[in-house]
């Protein structure tokens, strides 16, 4: 009798397991893996303003010919599609109508926003992605100089997939001055923190090589083609893009937001046309806010460690302490110049506190902050500041004179 009950229990248990019928399971080949997503401002058919959602999904099928081991060499290995709607979700559903596969957002590595849309405000669109179950918070957010499609339609030059091409480039952006690329999470934090406005990097399709390279193995070089490149940063005021910064301003911005951990600086210490190039090894900053007689003041202190990467002046006596001292002083001045220029532009032109001065006041003067909270970006324009930069040359990379220098 007992045995029968045990058998019955086993049968019921196993059947229950079967009845779940692989709920939630989806075979990997039924997925359309979205690797790039972007959105742009468009005019809808009914004349209203709308949004278009553009995605690139992996075309795994294109890469596998029958009877062959898969080789992902096909150029057309991404499928691009776009759909319009009044909201992202509507656009998404319209897009779904075209796709034979279930769109999978778990591997979306970045979201590109068209600059036209960025100028109108992006919070309402980011909201869809921040709520999405599959979407990763660490997906990068980038702004396209023109439209999203201008970036997405480019062919990869080195990597197999366009998303890898962009991803690998922006992940190394720190090495050549753009600082760390913010993710969706960073953006959401910026929007949540009081007294700090977002800055997002700008992607642009630029000509690959100078045209005068001629006919040098054209199909494999970038001559005559556009390639994707990071070019400047978009400054936001709340969720609206208000302008863009060039590389010098970006550096100034990075120094006082403690993100300039790598990158380069050019200075002309002695002659007008002879440069010394320095690589940043590390930088630290300190910002002390103070309110004196109702006037807002920040004291900015930056200390930078650099090493000397290139000296175009053969006569430089780098073995002498005072020469190095002079170069580092000049470098400090150059950095200070950049910082001041950036703050100046932010105050006068963008009118947006991208440095987060407001958050420093918020922390230190929480009482006074309540009064200016709503109008901080106006107050920001009147903030006075004083910048101090210390720069130290850590190394000349073992060479004190160029190899070619002949001593007479």
């Amino acid at each position: 009798m007992k045995k029968q009950y045990a058998c019955l229990a086993a049968v019921i248990l196993i059947s229950t397991l079967m009845l779940t019928a692989c709920w939630d399971s989806i075979e990997i080949e039924e997925l359309g893996i979205v690797v790039i997503a972007g959105f742009d401002a468009v005019q809808l058919d009914n004349g209203k303003k709308g949004v278009s959602l553009e995605v690139s999904i992996i075309r795994a099928g294109a890469t596998r010919a029958a009877g062959q081991t898969p080789k992902p060499t096909d150029q057309k290995n991404l499928w691009h599609a776009s759909a319009k709607g009044e909201t992202i979700y509507e656009a998404f559903n319209n897009l779904y109508k075209m796709s034979t596969r279930r769109l999978f957002w778990g591997h979306t590595q970045f979201i590109i926003i068209g600059s036209e849309l960025a100028r109108e405000g992006i919070d309402e669109y980011i909201d869809y992605f921040s709520r999405h179950l599959e979407m990763r918070r660490n997906a990068y957010i980038l702004v396209s100089r023109t439209t999203t499609y201008d970036i997405m339609r480019l062919d990869p030059e080195i990597e197999l997939f366009m998303n890898d091409e962009i991803l690998n480039m922006i992940q190394r952006a720190q090495e050549w001055n753009e600082g760390r690329i913010p993710s969706m999470n960073d953006y959401l934090i910026w929007r949540a923190v009081q007294g700090r406005e977002p800055v997002l990097p700008i992607l642009e399709a630029v000509p690959g090589s100078p045209a005068n390279l001629g006919k040098l193995s054209e199909p494999y070089s970038t001559v005559g083609k556009n390639v994707v490149s990071l070019n400047g940063s978009a400054v936001f005021k709340e969720d609206r893009m208000v302008g863009s910064m060039n590389i010098d301003e970006i550096q100034g911005y990075l120094f006082i937001t403690n993100r300039m951990k790598e990158g380069y600086i050019l200075v002309k210490p002695f002659h007008e046309d002879k440069y010394v190039s320095l690589r940043v090894l590390d930088s630290n900053y300190k910002i002390r806010p103070s309110i004196k007689e109702g006037r807002y003041f920040v004291d900015i202190q930056v200390s930078v460690e650099v090493d000397l990467a290139e000296a175009n002046e053969p006569q430089l006596a780098l073995n002498k302490e005072e020469v190095l001292q002079l170069i580092s002083n000049k470098t400090g001045e150059r950095i200070k110049e950049k910082i001041n220029m950036t703050i100046d532009r932010a105050q006068k032109e963008f009118k947006s506190d991208i440095f987060g001065f407001g958050s420093y006041f918020h922390r230190k003067y929480s009482e006074q902050w309540k009064g200016v909270k709503g109008t901080w970006n106006d107050v920001f324009q009147t903030v006075e500041y004083n910048t101090t930069v210390w720069c130290q040359i850590k190394s000349t990379r073992g060479i004190i004179r160029p190899e070619s220098y002949r001593e007479d």
Binding site: C22, D24, E29, I33, T69, P72, H107
Partner: protein, 513 residues
Amino acid sequence: MFGRKKNQTKSSNFTSEVKQKHSSSPWADIPVTEDYDKNVNNIRKICAGCGDIVEREIRMEGLGGLRVHLFFIIQMVNLDYINGNIILPMVAFKKENCKDNVLDIIQERVLTVFQVSREKKILNAVYEILKGSAILIIEGENEILALNLQNRKKRSIEEPSVEKTIRGPREGFIEDIFVNMSLVRTRLPIPELKFEMMEIGHRTRTRVTVAYVEGIAKVEILNEIKKRLSGVNVDMVIDTQDLTEYITDSAYSPIVQTEFTERPDKTVGSLVEGRFAILVDGTATIILTPTTVWDFIQASDDYHTNFYYASFTRMLRVATILITLFFPAIYVSIITFHQGVVPTELLISIAMQREGIPFPAAVEAVLMILTFELLREAGARLPIQIGQAVSIVGAIVIGESAVMAGIVSPAMVIVVAITGIASFTIPAYNFTLTLRLMSFVLLFLGSFLGLFGVMIGGMILLTHTASLKSFGIPFLTPAAPLFSLKDIFVRAPWTMMNKRSRYLAQDKTRQKT
């Protein structure tokens, strides 16, 4: 859950029961009488149809023409001894002045045979013949002399075929229990090494020996082993496996709980640790017990190599247990449920490979694993010469062509191959089979419920494993309950292993410090 019924084994007087067990024959109680012809006829009747039993009558002129009848099996005795040590002295015997009875005269003065016993029952005498003795029925005597001239055919001692080592001893057990005992005794020449003999099986009358080292091994465990062995009441014991299934604690559990070995050195190591060896006549593998799960991952080579490398391989084997159990299940559940956790490039690569595959990943996995098991089984059944063909078919047809034809994806082939190879690194073959079986269950759970199912399955498996006991020793000792971990995930240097395992041994000192 998988335990045997509690009342199956009854405690009883060990040796007497074994003898009684064989006495169900109608001839059982017929004694040897002084009627010579009747005795001979009785034996002929019992052995009617046994073509291998031969007989011979001798008249001993030295004892006044006394008739003596000899029964034996030619192939099981040494014929030279029959001729030279029995027949010749009997025929040549000359009567001397002495008052002893005939039996004593024959045993002490005539026969030049070392081992002689006297049987009072006809049936026992017949069993002596069958074991390889020659029996002598002497006219007018009510006892039969049984002369042990056993000369069993056996193969020579060879290197173990399953448990190979790179540097260890090359001797392996053979099918003869006495040779096996001698192999152990040679390595452990102390009187504390005990071999307790018994016979199990009404019909096979298999000799079974429990070996242990007195003073180290725990008496409670010995008593429990004896109790269970004496409770085994079957007609046939051919191998250690059938005996195992009668005496393990949870015989119906899918997890094997017995360690087998065919290595005398390993046996000696286990005996000195305080474990017991059960030797069965007629098989080259013996049982080592009590067993813990860690015994399955301790290979002989661990003790024959440098402890750093031995520790590395030990950890590798722990990893292979996990790989064998979980790898296919985790792979299938990740690519059908949790695509988000795979690195993007790997996901794209797998997606490309899966493109155009007609089956779901779970079916694909089952197909491949079944194919692998088929190949393994075919390889095991086939003679070595043809075995080559199987591996070629396996490698080329299944591996290459199945992928080319788009039936399975290369990734799945890799998963199954890694799982298969991983399972072969576990020294205990029976444990490997358990793991492979369990990995099927986990794969099934994983394909229905995803990683959640794999997790649930793993937890049930772990809980069940932890609940098992082998002769009173929890199956996960010494990791859970925690004792010394010096010989589990690592193999500590010999100089540091100066205590015997507390849970097994009475005498814990191995090394005076």
